[in-house]
C-alpha cells in the first residue's frame, strides 16, 4: 500500500514538474517535442 501511494505521489510531482517544463519548452520551440 505504501509503495503504491509513493508511486502515485511521485507521478503527481512529476506531472506538476512537466507543467513547468512544458511552459519553458513552449518558449524554446517545437524542436524539443520531437
Amino acid at each position: 500500500m505504501v509503495y503504491r501511494v509513493a508511486r502515485v505521489a511521485f507521478t503527481f510531482v512529476m506531472m506538476n514538474l512537466a507543467a513547468v517544463t512544458g511552459l519553458f519548452s513552449l518558449r524554446r520551440g517545437p524542436e524539443v517535442w520531437k
Binding site: 507521478t11 506531472m15 512537466a18 511552459l23
Partner: protein
Amino acid sequence: MELLFWTSAALIAYVYVGYPLLLAAWARMAPRPPKKYQFPAGHWPSLSIILAARNERSRLPVRVANLLTLPYDGPRELIVVSDGSTDGTAEAVAPFASRNEIRFVEVPAGGKPLALNAGVAIATGNILVFADARQRFTGGALSALVSNFADPEVGAVTGELILDCESGSSASSIGDGVGAYWKYEKWLRRNESLVRSTLGATGAIYALRRSLWRPLPAGTLLDDVLAPMRAVLGGWRVVFEDQAVAMDRTAPDAAAEARRKRRTLAGNYQILAQEPRLLLPIVNPVWLQYMSHKVGRLIVPWALVALLVSSVALTREGWLYSLALTAQAGFYALAAFGAWLEARDRQTGRRFATKLPVAIGKEAR
C-alpha cells in the same frame, strides 16, 4: 505571506477536491446525457477515418486491418496520411490497395496537424474519426461513437482510451501512478460530458462532424483539444462515450511519461494563445470547467511552490503552519521514495518480472 499560504492551499484544494465534488454534484443533479440513437441498417452516416503516420511501417498492416474490419453498418473510408515517412510506409498499405475504402496520401514531413489537414481535405464522410497507428479499437467502437451524433447538439465524441496499467498488466515502471491518474482524469471527463462537454478529446479515438473541421495551424501540439474546443466555442457539445474503446500500452518509464506530459501541458499553454476566447466566460460555455480543470492544472505547480515557501516562512507563526510544512515534507519524501522505486524497477526490470504472471493469470481466466 499568510495570504499567499491560504490562497495557494485553497487553489490546490479546489482543483483536486472542490471541483471534482462540485462536478459530481452537478452531474448528479442535472445530468444531460446525449440522445443516442442506433441508426437503422443502411442509414448510418458516412465515415472518414483519418490516420496520420510517420514511419509506422511495422504497425500499419495490423492497424489498417483493424480499422477496415470493425463492424459498421454505413459507408466508410480510411485515409492513411504518411507524414514524410522514410521507412516504406506506403508498402505497408499496398496490400490493401485493391480495397475501395482505403486511400493513401503522402505529404512532406510537417507534423501531425498538417498531415491531418491533408487527410481531412480529401475526406468525403460526414463524420471524421481520428485514430493513431499504435492503438487498437474494440469491436463496437465506430457504432458507439457515431450513435451520439443522432443528438443534433453533439459536435464531437471522444472515446475511452484504456491503458494496460489500469488492469495491472503493464510492464511499465510508472504504471501505478499513471493508472491512478488516468482513471481520475476519465472520471472527470465522464462527468464533464454529463454536465455539458468534455474539455477536448482523446487523440487515439475521437470523432467530429466534418462540417466543424477547421484546418489546424502548423505546430499545433494538441489537435485533439483544439478541434473539439473550437466546436464547443461554436455552441456544440463534446461528449464522452465509454463504449468506444481504444486499447494502448503505458509509457515504459517515468522519463517517457514525463516527455509525454510535458508535451501535453505545453499544448495546454499553446491553446490559450491559439484560442484566447477560452478564457472569456461570456464566450466559452464551459468556462468554469475549463478554468477549474485545464487552467487549474497549469497553476497548481506554482501554487505548490508558493505553499511550500509560505509554510517555511510562517512555521513559527502557529502550529497550523508547522503542521502544513510537516505534511508537505512527508508528501515529498513519499514522492522521493516513489522516484527511487521507479528507478529501481526500471534498472532491474523487476516490475516486469512480478507483473507478468498476474497478466497471464488474468488472460487465462
